[in-house]
């Protein structure tokens, strides 16, 4: 009797603790959503002036904000494609062959993963300034590709451990060329890992603040637009766009991953 009570108490404590952590994680989200309905029109948009849907409509008149979102997506798509191609080739090549300087490439790949982003940001800034690569979409794509490549490589490499070479060999024995084997055998086998790496690259790109901050020129991504609006008080339409992004993402997760809500396997 005492024991079940004790166990119940323990369980209750556990649930309560988790609830508190979730509160900690979600509270700012609640603030963002609330402020997206705030009727205030005066900076710094802090005081509550009543409920309105207006910002969700005004949002679509704010071309600078929409452009920044478009830039974010464009840069993410370009850098993801680049990083995935380079990363996939590299992961397979480095797994399959032994060659001089492999350790150096490995070390270079670890750098963007462990180094504080600000260091990479200023390093790329100095490079772009020195080489006169124009700051804008191009420099952002180059920068984002750079920090994404390692994540693609590591993702695929994790899958390659225990990879069976015999299928490839069989393919070659049957007369398929190296290139053909790569595209028809290797890539399909690795597809889930390649996809996972690409998604990670995409996510890193759309959320990046620090490296973009140093390499953007006049081009604004959505995170940089947020950074700028923080200076004078984040206006409710920025909150509204954030809310829409979050709502859409969550909805999509619910639709595509409905197994989350079922019993786990």
């Amino acid at each position: 009797m005492v024991r079940t009570q004790k166990r119940k108490l323990k369980k209750g404590l556990g649930v309560g603790y988790c609830a508190l952590i979730y509160l900690f994680l979600f509270l700012p989200i609640a603030v963002i959503i609330t402020n997206s309905f705030n009727a205030t029109t005066s900076k710094p948009y802090m005081t509550w002036k009543g409920f309105t849907f207006d910002w969700y409509i005004k949002l679509f008149d704010n071309s600078a904000l929409l452009d920044s979102f478009g830039n974010t997506i464009l840069i993410a798509v370009c850098s993801t494609v680049l990083a995935t191609c380079i990363g996939t080739l590299a992961a397979v090549g480095m797994y399959r062959y032994r060659f001089r300087g492999k350790g150096v490439i490995d070390a270079l790949l670890y750098i963007p993963v462990v180094i504080p982003e600000i260091v990479l940001g200023i390093a790329l800034l100095t490079l772009f300034a020195k080489t006169s690569i124009p700051r804008g979409i191009l420099s952002l794509v180059l920068a984002h590709t750079t920090f994404s490549i390692p994540f693609v490589v590591f993702n695929i490499r994790a899958r390659l451990t225990g990879y069976d070479n015999s299928v490839e060999e069989a393919s070659m024995d049957l007369g398929a060329g190296k290139v053909e084997t790569f595209f028809r055998i290797t890539v399909p086998i690795l597809a889930p890992a390649i996809g996972g790496g690409a998604l990670l690259a995409f996510t890193l790109s759309i959320d990046d603040v620090i490296i973009s901050y140093f390499t953007n020129g006049q081009t604004k991504t959505f995170p940089l637009k947020v950074m700028e609006s923080i200076k004078s008080g984040v206006s409710p339409d920025v909150n509204a766009l954030s809310t829409l992004i979050l709502a859409g993402t969550t909805l999509l997760v619910i639709l595509t991953q409905s197994n989350l809500f079922k019993r786990r396997k």
Partner: protein, 288 residues
């Protein structure tokens, strides 16, 4: 025949590995070397970088006021890591070992907030904690306080914001490590008469240490550089090394000094990574 294969392999290696080699050389190795060289340069009266070998930047870095900011930054990163472990470990344990059918959902709920831009979430905290913000208003309404409490703009709020930003980087490796725990081991331990605390310190903790190590690396190092958290929640009163670097590359207009500061950050990172590897940490687990 042998020659041909070797040649063929060489071509394959070249096509597969040269893109990444060139890319990483041009966008990682060269810029970082350039930063290293720049840290020994000076500036002219128009703030342009001029190449002359000088230790002046490093001499300035030894100035007591800089040293104090490094210490402050390391303290902030340390506190952030400690809080992430203390708050995160029980939480990760509970969600990783739950028998609830909603386990995947619980895990998912840790990630969802991070799909919203981190700056705007940090700003959300600022709105919430401000003197006339929701928390103060609520506490006043409940008659728990009579005067507004000052939450914002100190070292405490900076640490708070860092913990908030970096929390999932601690949770995810912890979750993975804890989920891997073999339930039989725990049962065996308790069958052998070990008590809860003893099982924890002798079995669970050593087996999940890898998660703590990689989580700590992934929290501690970024915390040294997250200048925007110190700006937004710290009010400029609790700068980290990242703020110093940012200032020299922006308003300070002294790139060589900023480069030297970056070298300090690179040094700390290398030191910690070496330490991590010494402890048996796996580099790959930092990447995913």
């Amino acid at each position: 025949m042998v020659m041909k294969t070797k040649k063929g392999a060489a071509i394959s290696i070249a096509t597969m590995v040269s893109p990444v080699t060139l890319w990483m050389a041009f966008f990682i190795a060269i810029p970082l070397l350039y930063v290293a060289v720049m840290s020994f340069c000076g500036t002219d009266e128009n703030y342009n970088v001029v190449f002359r070998l000088t230790l002046e930047n490093y001499r300035r870095l030894l100035d007591p006021s800089y040293l104090q900011i490094y210490m402050q930054s390391i303290l902030i990163a340390f506190l952030t890591t400690a809080f992430c472990i203390l708050l995160g470990y029980p939480f990760a344990f509970l969600i990783a070992r739950t028998k609830s059918r909603k386990k995947a959902l619980l895990y998912m709920l840790v990630i969802i907030p991070f799909w919203t831009n981190s700056l705007i979430r940090i700003y959300g905290w600022r709105t919430f904690l401000s003197a006339s913000g929701m928390l103060n208003t609520l506490l006043m309404k409940l008659n728990l306080i009579d005067t507004q409490i000052d939450f914002l703009y100190n070292i405490g709020t900076t640490v708070f914001g860092m913990v908030y930003c970096l929390f999932p980087f601690m949770i995810l490796p912890l979750y993975t490590a804890i989920e891997k725990l073999d339930i039989n081991l725990l049962e065996a331990s308790s069958d052998l008469g070990a008590r809860g605390a003893s099982t924890f310190f002798h079995i669970i903790l050593p087996l999940t240490a890898s998660g703590i190590f990689s989580g700590s690396i992934m929290v501690f190092i970024p915390a040294l550089g997250y200048f925007f958290v110190a700006d937004i929640l710290g009010g400029g009163n609790s700068d980290v090394i990242g703020n110093l670097i940012e200032r020299q590359f922006q308003s300070g207009n002294n790139w060589p000094l900023g480069a030297a500061l970056s070298m300090i950050l690179i040094g700390i990172t290398l030191l910690l990574v070496k330490l991590y590897q010494k402890c048996g940490g796996d580099m790959e687990s930092l990447g995913v």
